[in-house]
């Protein structure tokens, strides 16, 4: 009950911001950017395989939001709507990249140093996590999107379905298949660990 009330309050606050923007108040848009840009950057970074530099995508998403906000009906949360735009932008970005035959370098991510471990353990951990990231990058786009939204963005099933425009059954099927792919790719790693 309390969570419902909080969600409703949040939604009405978002709608008030949107209304202010429609009336020509640019600071309302800046407020939306400030509130959601970090989450959008994190999502784009994960969907594109952790390239880290996601400034162009974030810019694109907010340009699209700027033009689209005037027609935003408020049927869903603003975050859900922005995530849908982000996913679409990432898809077209990847498509363009494939067309240009540009491949994302696999070792571009700079790993953070693991604290409280010795150098060998840290190196092993880095290699392990690199491998996991490579496995996620190797997933087909529709499976990778579900994995990122579920496990890394930690969204609820209904929000994922809303963002991707799919039914809960489809989402579950995609998630199971993604898990199967990951299990196959990382089996050796898991066995080695256990």
């Amino acid at each position: 009950m309390a969570s419902n009330m909080a969600a409703m309050a949040k939604k009405s606050e978002e709608l008030a911001l949107v209304e202010r923007f429609r009336r020509g108040d640019d600071s309302a848009f800046d407020g939306i950017v400030e509130k959601h840009s970090a989450a959008i950057a994190a999502l784009a970074n994960r969907l594109l395989g952790w390239p880290q530099d996601v400034e162009d995508i974030v810019q694109d998403v907010f340009v699209a939001a700027f033009t689209g906000l005037k027609t935003f009906r408020g049927d869903c949360h603003l975050r859900t709507w922005l995530f849908t735009i982000t996913i679409n932008r990432c898809r077209s970005y990847r498509y363009r990249r494939i067309l240009r035959l540009r491949r994302t370098p696999l070792d571009d991510a700079v790993p953070a140093p693991a604290r409280g471990r010795n150098a060998e353990e840290a190196a092993m951990a880095t290699e392990t996590f690199d491998r996991i990231r490579r496995a996620v990058r190797a997933l087909p786009a529709k499976y990778r999107e579900v994995v990122v939204l579920r496990y890394l963005q930690q969204l609820e099933t209904n929000e994922i379905c809303e963002i991707l425009g799919i039914s809960p059954n489809t989402m579950q099927v995609r998630l199971n298949r993604a898990r199967k792919h990951l299990r196959e790719d990382l089996a050796q790693l898991i066995e080695g660990k256990s």
Binding site: R23, G24, D26, V63, P111, R133, Y151, R179
Partner: protein, 201 residues
Amino acid sequence: MSDERLKELLQRADETAGAPVFRQPHASEIRRQMSRRRLKIAALPAAAVLLIGAGLATICLRSTHKPPQPQQRIATVEAQLLQLQAQTDAVLKLVHEVLEKDRQEEQLTALEAELASIPDAAEEIERQVDKTAFVMLYRADRLYKQLRQTDSAVEAYKEIIQLFPENQWADVARERLSQIQEHRINNSKTKGVKKCEPRNV
């Protein structure tokens, strides 16, 4: 591999990948970017039309005239170039004017919206006066009905009538005063009767 284990591994892999690098875009920046885009969209067809026009003009000139002398040809080309330049300038000027008009319209809409959001001053003052009168009446009623301080209540009612004689709550205060007066008269009558009655019946 369990779901929880997979989740944990993925999250740790994500954490070790490092944070994304980006800069927060501002509304004014996006607005500028969009107007540049609009200018491009408007200028491209105009340039295309001009080029086609120039091409057609050249074809027409070639078909109607005999091949002119080199000096004449240079002069014609120069004249055409000048004409083309003038046309381009005119089109660009028009595009700028249209964009400027768009911008002014946007500003006007924004100002109108802002104006609409400001409440009418007279209405606001009237509302505040009404509210104050009501609060004063409420306090006076409390003095009279709950605290039984009739004299203070009478003072308060009189103050309302004096400060807001035209207000609806001043009418209510007048009603209350007349009620108090009636009550007092009745009380005094009752007391008078009692005085005349024999004490031992």
